[in-house]
C-alpha cells in the first residue's frame, strides 16, 4: 500500500487546479459567455455589454483568438465595417470547464448546512 493511497493530496482535485488563465479572467469569460449565447456576436455589442473601450476589447479578443477559443471575422454591411466573433469548439469546452470549476469552487466553500 503506498503512502499516496493512505494520505491523498487534498488539493489534487481542487477546482483551481489546472485553471486556464486565458479564460479565468472576468472580461474574457464575459466575451466567451456572450459569444456562446449569441452564436455570433458583433464587436459593438460586446463593447456595450462589457462596457469596454474598443482598444481594450481588441486586446482581449486577440488573446482569445491566439488561444484558438474564438474566430474573428471582419466584413462589411453596406459601407459600414463590422467585426463578428464566433466561439470555436475549443472555446465552448473552455467556457464549460471554467463554469464547472466555478460551480465546484462554490460547492466546496459553501456551508453544508449541518453546522
Amino acid at each position: 500500500m503506498s503512502a499516496g493511497t493512505d494520505h491523498p493530496d487534498p488539493d489534487a482535485d481542487h477546482p483551481v487546479t489546472g485553471m486556464d488563465e486565458v479564460v479565468h479572467q472576468r472580461v474574457r469569460l464575459g466575451i466567451l459567455t456572450i459569444a456562446h449565447e449569441a452564436n455570433r456576436v458583433e464587436f459593438g455589442y460586446l463593447r456595450t455589454q462589457l462596457d469596454l473601450t474598443a482598444g481594450n476589447l481588441s486586446k482581449h479578443l486577440s488573446v482569445l483568438e491566439t488561444a484558438g477559443l474564438i474566430e474573428v471575422e471582419k466584413g462589411y454591411e453596406g459601407r459600414r465595417g463590422r467585426t463578428w466573433v464566433t466561439l470555436t469548439a475549443a472555446g465552448t469546452t473552455a467556457l464549460s470547464d471554467e463554469i464547472g470549476r466555478l460551480k465546484r469552487l462554490i460547492a466546496r466553500v459553501e456551508p453544508t448546512g449541518r453546522g
Binding site: R26, V27, H36
Partner: protein, 227 residues
C-alpha cells in the same frame, strides 16, 4: 469591470451571477416573440376566409350534412411554410441588427416538419374517410386537433419557448394549446345550428387568431417596457 486577471480571492458566486446575467441579456436581445405571434395570428385570420369559402357542404333533405374543408387543405400548407420562413427572416435580420446571432432555425424547421405531418394526415383523411365513415373516440379527435394547423402552431411555439428559454412564452403556449386542443371544437364547429357549418367552423378559428394577436400585443408591450 476590471481587465486584470481575477484575483484569487474573488467571489466565484459573483462571477457566475455575472455570467448568468450576461447570458440572460443576450437571450432578451435575440427575442422577437411578438413578431412570431403576429405573423401566426395574421395567417390564422386569413385562413378563416379560405376555410369559409373553400368548404364543400352537401346537405341532404333529412337535414344531415357532409362537408369537406378543402380550403384548409389548400391554404394552410403554403401559408404555414411562408409564415415560418417570414418569422425566420425577421428573427435573423433583427438579431443581426442588434449585433447577435439568431436562435430561430430549429423553430422554423419544426414548424415546417409539422406542416408536412398535418398535410399528409389531412390528405390521407380526405382520401380515405369519405368512403369509410368512422365514429372516433375523443382522444383521436384531440390528436386530430394537435396535427391540425392551429395545434401545430402551438407545438412549434413550445420549441421557440425552449430555444429562447422564455417562460412567459411557455405559459402562453400551454394556455393556447389547452384552448385549441381541449376547449375550442376546432374540428367540430361551434355556435348555433342556424348559423350554418361554415360560420360554426369560423368561430373557433377567430378565437384562436384573437388569442395569438393578443399574445403578440402583450409580448410587444412587455418588450417596450423592458427597453
Amino acid at each position: 469591470m476590471t481587465t486584470g486577471s481575477i484575483p484569487a480571492g474573488s467571489d466565484p458566486r459573483r462571477l457566475l451571477a455575472e455570467v448568468r446575467a450576461l447570458a440572460h441579456r443576450v437571450r432578451l436581445d435575440q427575442r422577437l416573440t411578438w413578431v412570431a405571434l403576429l405573423v401566426l395570428a395574421a395567417a390564422t385570420f386569413v385562413g378563416i376566409a379560405f376555410d369559409f369559402f373553400g368548404m364543400r357542404v352537401n346537405c341532404r333533405p333529412d337535414g344531415s350534412c357532409e362537408f369537406a374543408r378543402r380550403g384548409v387543405l389548400y391554404y394552410w400548407p403554403p401559408a404555414l411554410l411562408s409564415a415560418y420562413a417570414a418569422i425566420a427572416v425577421c428573427y435573423v435580420r433583427t438579431a443581426r441588427s442588434r449585433g447577435v446571432g439568431a436562435r430561430v432555425l430549429p423553430y422554423a424547421i419544426t414548424g415546417a416538419a409539422l406542416t408536412v405531418v398535418f398535410t399528409a394526415a389531412w390528405v390521407v383523411a380526405a382520401l380515405y374517410f369519405p368512403s369509410h365513415p368512422h365514429t372516433f373516440p375523443s382522444w383521436v379527435l384531440v390528436l386530430d386537433r394537435l396535427i391540425a394547423p392551429w395545434g401545430t402552431i402551438g407545438v412549434a411555439l413550445l420549441v421557440l419557448a425552449r430555444l429562447e428559454r422564455n417562460v412567459a412564452l411557455l405559459l402562453f403556449t400551454l394556455g393556447y394549446l389547452a384552448m385549441v386542443l381541449l376547449v375550442l371544437p376546432m374540428n367540430d364547429g361551434w355556435g348555433s345550428p342556424h348559423w350554418g357549418i361554415r360560420a360554426a367552423f369560423a368561430i373557433p378559428q377567430l378565437i384562436a387568431g384573437a388569442v395569438l394577436l393578443l399574445g403578440a400585443i402583450g409580448f410587444a408591450a412587455a418588450r417596450r417596457r423592458h427597453r
